[in-house]
Symmetry: C2
Subunit: 405 residues, 2 copies
Amino acid sequence: MHRAMPSRGAAKESVASRFRRELLQRCSGWRTERYCAKWSDDSYGDTMNISERKRKILKAVVDDYIERGQPVSSKDICSTYLPDVSPATVRNELSALESMGFLSQPHVSSGRIPTQRAFRLYVDDLMELKPLSDTDIQIIDSYFDHKLTSVEEITRSVAQVISELTNYTSVVVKENGADMKIEKIKVLELLGDNALVVIVTSGEVLKDNIITLPKGIDEDGIETANKWLNKMFVGKYMSEFTDVSEPMEQITAEFSGFRDLYAQIVDVIRKIKQHGDKDVYTTGRSKILDYPEYTDVDRAKDFLTKLDRKEDLADMLTDTNDLEFTVKIGQEDDNLPVGCSLVSAKISINDTTLANAGVIGPVRMDYTKVIGVLEHIGTILDNIKADALLIEGDTPKKLKKKKGH
Amino acid sequence: MHRAMPSRGAAKESVASRFRRELLQRCSGWRTERYCAKWSDDSYGDTMNISERKRKILKAVVDDYIERGQPVSSKDICSTYLPDVSPATVRNELSALESMGFLSQPHVSSGRIPTQRAFRLYVDDLMELKPLSDTDIQIIDSYFDHKLTSVEEITRSVAQVISELTNYTSVVVKENGADMKIEKIKVLELLGDNALVVIVTSGEVLKDNIITLPKGIDEDGIETANKWLNKMFVGKYMSEFTDVSEPMEQITAEFSGFRDLYAQIVDVIRKIKQHGDKDVYTTGRSKILDYPEYTDVDRAKDFLTKLDRKEDLADMLTDTNDLEFTVKIGQEDDNLPVGCSLVSAKISINDTTLANAGVIGPVRMDYTKVIGVLEHIGTILDNIKADALLIEGDTPKKLKKKKGH
DNA sequence: GTTAGCAGTCGCACCTCTTGAGTGCTAATT
DNA sequence: AATTAGCACTCAAGAGGTGCGACTGCTAAC
């Protein structure tokens, strides 16, 4: 699952080819069930046997619909995509595609619009991935150019740049709940009997937890406690601390005063792990209103309220098994707003997944562009200088930057 | 500016009376200029000389318009608010009020809608503040019932409860940039040569800043540094550290190795202060779509994009001089979305202002309710047990809670 | 298998007409 | 002098009708 960083020319290839490879995995694994559920109603085999011309026409319909958002007529297809055949021929094919469940007509004398199933096939098979424009690459690069001091900062930047480039709403889920190795732990006395617990892990600094100190402990006591806590926690994984009671005898023997402290910290760890402690960032919520299918207030409302349910968003984005890209179209996920799709990708640095980033937009969103953007961001971050991130890295290798000319 | 916590019965009085008192201040101070700018065009004196009946009718129009959102007819007023006079009489009065600039007609055969000026008078003078319902009080109380561990948590809760109760969008600005007294400072070694700076002030724990340690410093060195940093910073106010160069000779004499460290921390403090480091939380953005005046997509879009400009929101909310309540109506503030008003209040605990909380809703929002909610939240927080907050308090007094029966 | 031609469907923009909820004005009433 | 009934007037909004045009499906010829 490690992303290579080839030269840009080769990278173009890699986008397409990796994506294809993942699609193969997808179709042989659990994902088939998830994604192809609807297809089993009628013949999935058909999909494989569609004539080349039908595929071409279907692709044309989807491309056109993505661009213009309006029913596509047989004439449209002929004039722009297939000038060699007559509209009548195309009409026959369209009619066949409709009975196969790929197209539908809002009313009898209108053009065709692609069904959810058509979009599925399009994303899996038909669409062509194009390289990002130089301007886009420059914009992305400029976001990750300087020293990045925290995963949170990266997360925010990712959300912002995605939304800026794609013109859709972006969602990034920072998952603090991964089972991380504890590198350092420190209790810091605050005012009163409160204290701040700072836990440094292999991927992140967790510093938002507050506990109550044992009565009557003084500065020296805290120092001793810190030494002892380091001995207890450092080098272990967070998952090892599920049960409070276990090492209690040992503690009683050593420093009976720290029982409560220990319990509290285990509790903090458990809370971080269990509750997941996922932070969800969304940017560009209002962008959906740019698209005509959301001029309807009820739809807009549905969109915005669904975006407010952070847990659902987190679920959708993290429910990706171990694919790097995931595309959910329309009703394939109940938590998606009506008429929306989600494209999401993993964001990892040094093989550690830091977050999942995604785009939520209308079903007819520009998948090519969106995947291109996500791919480039993924590649950049995977190659970022690790020590800029409080994460232990092997070779401090400077991020490769490409100027426009 | 300290809020008293009287018994609930008396509290009702206090809401109204304090608000009136502040309005008096408002009208004698700078605020007159700000708020009454529009009035000086035509005769402001008129406002004072409106007959009692005109005031009654104007109030009726605004009340009705707030409730139904539609032009108010003379008949409406008679049937609901002034049954003793005939519609014709009311029509005469309405006509007079219109020529005074308080009312307007969408078209000649429709009822009247209040102008911005009418809302101003309404808020300043006409509306009656009613006590919150018991259910509402209970809901608010339940939000601040348990131990609150950070200002951030409070801020989020405030945003949420406001939006829940009022059904408008809430905005809370947490201002970390206030000139706070430094109570404690600590540098915490992370991985690599990075370190976390934790600054405990009288109101908040600032723990999101990362610096680079001097080369070759070891654990003992950090401990010495921490002792020395405490000596340098503790007890002073953040504003005292504006210039890096000043105490440099002194440092060179004492511990020349800490020059860089000192500079970095001063820089952190300066950044916190200058850049303001205001955190802005918004909740219930989509609620505006519940109101018919925002079924128009362009308006909705305007609303949502204005809400994305965090700095502007922060400016609007903090630009309140030292009033506890501020109401900005329609175009009185350029940064407000079209057709919106803002009601904001200070949130303080123990005379320290922690945040400004506000509601952004349509101009015809239910000011009475909104002010009631903000007032109650303010009172509750002002009386919260301070040490639950990492803030030094005098008497640990338990939050008074009132059951429904 | 492809295509030209034609009949048929239906959304949409445009028009007119009617209705009714308002007003302002005037003259009578208190 | 203030109030009110009555009436003429205005205008938004909805209902119904019409024509246009953008499509399709079908059929018969190529």
